[in-house]
């Protein structure tokens, strides 16, 4: 990849400068009288003195104290995150299967299978890129403001993401074992189940745990439906300038994230290394079977998750509130009306099909001009700006992450990198913990918080937003990428160490090229979420999809929001195609 793929690096550079040209190169825009550090100092003073009691003086004296509320929020968040992820994983597996190409029979009618794969992939893109708000309103309409709506509103886009990432992880696996199965007359599906799936499992477990972590952090959808999560709590405290409270909640969140990451690490380690037999075995089949190495940790772990998920479903507030019949269809009809473009929307929000058809026939000649208008202004400009901002952000994030991760990779950052004895210095280990700590911190702190601080530091322009997105994504890419590298088999990179090379060299020369395809996969995945990131991109009146979505959200112009969302989805689909093309090329295939 290195020699022939230099253009990849060059292309990234060129694209970045195009973004700079688009967004303007004035990174810092201060006006007289500005005190750039003031807000930052105010914010970080909260880090040293996290608050244990409410800072909100308007609360009645007998109110539930802050810490107990925070604890409730945390438990609630964990519960709904568990439910959402456990709903999304099976869906992700199923759709991911159809979106991958590993189950295709070789030499088969490939075109036919492409005809399955691409519609699935595109609908996955839609699931991921349709704005959270629209899912939230949809489920609010369908199920009321019960917690289950929140879970579904979270689970649906998660299914899309999981399916995409699962399918691509599967596509990246070594195909030789699968070929053996198909050569023996097995079907593609069998080859998939028996070889690709077990090989991809460690990567998929990593990613699922990461998704669970995302669910913990994601407050927007849950909050909209009225589930008070720890993310919402941070958001609220921050809005009110209660920085002590913000930091207390952040510390709690960070601790939780570290806990999950540690658990994930242990699980993956066990899955990668296997377990040596501890008893010597006899000679018969049944004796061998009894003495077979079994990993108690993995089993206990698996069972525990099952139990915890079951508890999440069954204990606590009821998930669904009953709804009177007919009410649901009314609500859905209203939702549909909201999404219907203005010129073809029926008069009444509770229209029946005939009225809708009538509205359509009356307004259909207005529909295209409506679209054209929105596209002319501001769609076109917003699309280009969003592209420029998201691309600039993800490139900055990727550059930072790629420089930092070699020191953070657990399999390298210790005394025995890749299982080989190395110097006894404790430095790499400490460094590794620091880097991973940095990743946890950057991703646990929500991006709007960075955006606010950076706008203070740099003055209002698109760049603080870009940097805020970049910072948040450094932590996420850092985590995802380190785990990709940790899940690589050790034989190849360890040859570099064997000839006296160092940790960094084995990263640069073996682990990086081996992982490049998976890096690209996650790079595009994160870029996608930058495109979607309306909360941050809407913070300043920079003409971008996020800005118009957040404005129209307050004016309740959902048809416009849908339009902007679909523009974003277009970007996402294009990104999907590009990612697919790149990874095929780098894998050495020419399709």
């Amino acid at each position: 990849m290195w020699l022939g793929r230099r253009w990849l690096v060059v292309a990234l550079g060129v694209v970045f400068f195009l973004c700079v040209a688009r967004l303007g190169a004035d990174f810092v825009t201060h006006t007289p009288g500005s005190d750039p550090w003031a807000s930052t100092i105010r914010f970080f003073s909260g880090a040293i003195s996290p608050s244990l009691v409410d800072q909100n003086s308007s609360l009645p004296a007998d109110a539930d104290p802050f810490l107990s509320r925070l604890g409730d929020d945390l438990l609630r968040t964990i519960r709904y995150a568990l439910i959402a992820t456990s709903l999304a994983i099976p869906g992700g597996l199923l759709l991911g299967f159809f979106a991958s190409e590993q189950w295709w029979p070789r030499n088969g009618a490939q075109v036919l299978f492409q005809l399955i794969r691409w519609p699935v992939r595109i609908s996955l893109s839609l699931m991921r890129s349709v704005h959270e708000l629209i899912w939230a309103i949809f489920f609010l309409s369908a199920f009321g403001d019960a917690p289950f709506s929140a879970c579904l509103a979270l689970a649906l886009p998660f299914t899309g993401t999981l399916a995409k990432v699962f399918s691509e992880l599967m596509d990246e696996q070594n195909r030789s074992p699968r070929d053996v199965i198909t050569a023996a007359g097995g079907s593609g599906a069998q080859g998939f189940v028996a070889t690709i799936f077990p090989m991809a499992l460690p990567d998929m477990v990593s990613y699922s745990l990461y998704r669970f972590e995302c669910a913990l952090r994601s407050s927007a959808v849950l909050g909209f439906i009225g589930v008070e999560t720890i993310g919402l709590s941070i958001n609220r405290s921050f809005e009110n300038g209660f920085y002590g409270e913000v930091w207390t909640a952040l510390y709690v969140l960070i601790a939780t994230v570290i806990l999950i990451e540690g658990l994930g690490h242990m699980t993956r380690q066990r899955m990668m290394a296997g377990k040596a037999r501890t008893r010597s075995s006899g000679l018969s089949e049944s004796e061998l079977r009894k003495a077979a190495p079994r990993d108690l940790f993995l089993r206990v772990n698996g069972v525990t998750w099952m139990v915890v998920i079951f508890m999440a479903f069954s204990i606590g507030e009821p998930l669904v509130t009953p709804m009177v019949e007919g009410q649901r269809s009314e609500r859905l009809s209203r939702f549909l009306t909201k999404l219907t473009p203005d010129p073809i929307a029926p008069e009444k929000s509770l229209a029946n099909w005939d009225e809708r058809k009538e509205a359509w026939s009356e307004g259909s000649d207005q529909f295209v001009p409506w679209l054209a208008d929105l596209w002319e202004h501001p769609g076109q400009e917003a699309l280009i700006n969003t592209l420029a901002m998201s691309v600039a952000a993800i490139i900055v994030a990727a550059c930072l992450a790629i420089l930092l991760i070699p020191w953070g990779i657990r399999t390298l950052a210790n005394r025995n990198p890749l299982g080989l004895a190395m110097s006894r210095s404790f430095l790499p280990g400490v460094m590794g913990s620091l880097i991973r700590g940095f990743f946890v911190l950057t991703r646990a702190v929500p991006e709007y918080l960075y955006a606010f601080l950076l706008v203070g530091l740099m003055g209002p322009s698109a760049w603080p937003l870009v940097l805020a997105l970049a910072l948040h994504n450094v932590g996420i890419l850092g985590r995802l990428w380190t785990e990709v590298v940790e899940n690589q088999r050790r034989i190849i990179p360890s040859t570099i160490l064997e000839v006296g090379g160092g940790r960094l060299q084995s990263y640069v020369a073996a682990l990086l090229p081996m992982s490049l395809n998976r890096f690209i996969l996650f790079f595009f995945y994160r870029w996608e979420s930058c495109v979607r990131e309306a909360t941050v991109l809407g913070m300043l009146g920079v003409s971008s999809l996020g800005y118009y979505i957040s404005i129209q959200q307050n004016f309740r112009e959902y048809d416009d929001i849908l339009f902007y969302t679909l523009l974003g989805a277009g970007l996402v689909v294009a990104g999907d195609l590009l990612s697919d093309f790149l990874r095929h090329r780098l894998r050495g295939e020419n399709s």
Partner: protein, 294 residues
């Protein structure tokens, strides 16, 4: 189609559940669920509004439950769907809610809400001082609103900009980008720190911040005060009559107007509630149609 398929399955699954529960739903004693927009002091929203819920429960002898709302939009959305039946809205969100639900009625507002106003503020370094005239000089300064859905932090100020200058905010402000700080106190602090040279926020929040000492009126100067407009209000859903019986909305309105409960009034940040009707907010409705941000 994948998403649609999943959604459809979820729907069919749950509607099966519905039919079973159909009988039960009406048996249950009805609960008055109410909510409020997250405007200021939003942490512990449920705790903050508990005294109001308690007061209403006592005064009306029904079960009252407060439902938190994470955004302005969420509260309107739930009102429209009938998930909540009463809400403490802002001027704009209340109007949206009433437009969405036929028969919804504005019942009561704080006395000061009938003559609410916004302050245009500027950093002292701009050299601007308080004046009676609209400060057209801010056109060449960096400027921030609060939340774009806020009546006093965005919609009404924009209306006055349009009225005074004949230009939309996007045309009027020369320095881009315009900020949307998200909250009134953020606006004040950002102007005081000089992140933005000027901004606009609710007068109440500005004054309370000056009183607390978080804002120095010498650094963050009020340069112009908008004419008064109607803002916060309690709005009731017509479904209340169905679940609690004919005339319940009137009872509710009376309970609100008669409220002397200090804890409940403190939660709302008002001294007393006065009667309003949907007509009170016609000016706001007109403004909403005019103000555009693209």
């Amino acid at each position: 189609f994948g998403s649609i398929a999943i959604a459809a399955t979820a729907l069919t699954l749950s509607s099966c559940g519905d039919k079973e529960r159909k009988g039960e739903a009406s048996d249950e004693t009805a609960v008055l669920r109410f909510s409020a927009i997250p405007d200021e002091n939003t942490t512990g929203q449920a705790a903050r509004f508990k005294p109001v819920a308690d007061y209403l429960a006592k005064a009306l002898d029904v079960k009252v439950e407060f439902v938190p709302s994470a955004t302005y939009g969420a509260s309107v959305e739930k009102f429209e769907n009938g998930d909540i039946h009463l809400a403490w809205f802002g001027g704009v969100s209340g109007e949206q809610a009433r437009q969405a639900v036929e028969g919804a009625e504005a019942l009561a507002a704080g006395k000061k809400d009938l003559a609410f106003k916004s302050y245009f503020v500027a950093n002292v370094a701009t050299g601007l001082t308080r004046s009676e005239e609209f400060p057209t000089a801010i056109a060449n300064m960096t400027f921030t609103y609060g939340s774009s859905g806020s009546t006093s932090g965005c919609v009404m100020p924009s209306h006055f900009i349009m009225e005074k200058t004949g230009k939309t905010p996007m045309e009027f402000f020369q320095k881009k980008p315009i900020g949307f700080s998200g909250a009134h106190d953020k606006t004040a602090l950002q102007v005081q720190d000089g992140t933005f040279q000027a901004g606009v926020l609710s007068y109440g929040k500005y004054e309370s911040m000056v009183k607390e000492g978080t804002i120095d009126p010498a650094k963050c100067v009020v340069v112009w005060e908008t004419p008064p407009f109607a803002d916060y209000n309690f709005t009731a859903h017509p479904a209340l009559e169905k679940s609690f019986g004919e005339g319940f909305v009137a009872k509710l309105q009376k309970a609100l107007l008669d409220c002397k409960d200090p804890a409940a009034l403190k939660a709302l940040g008002r001294d007393e509630l006065v009667k309003v009707t949907n007509e009170t907010f016609i000016p706001v409705a007109k403004v909403m149609e005019k103000v555009k941000f693209d």
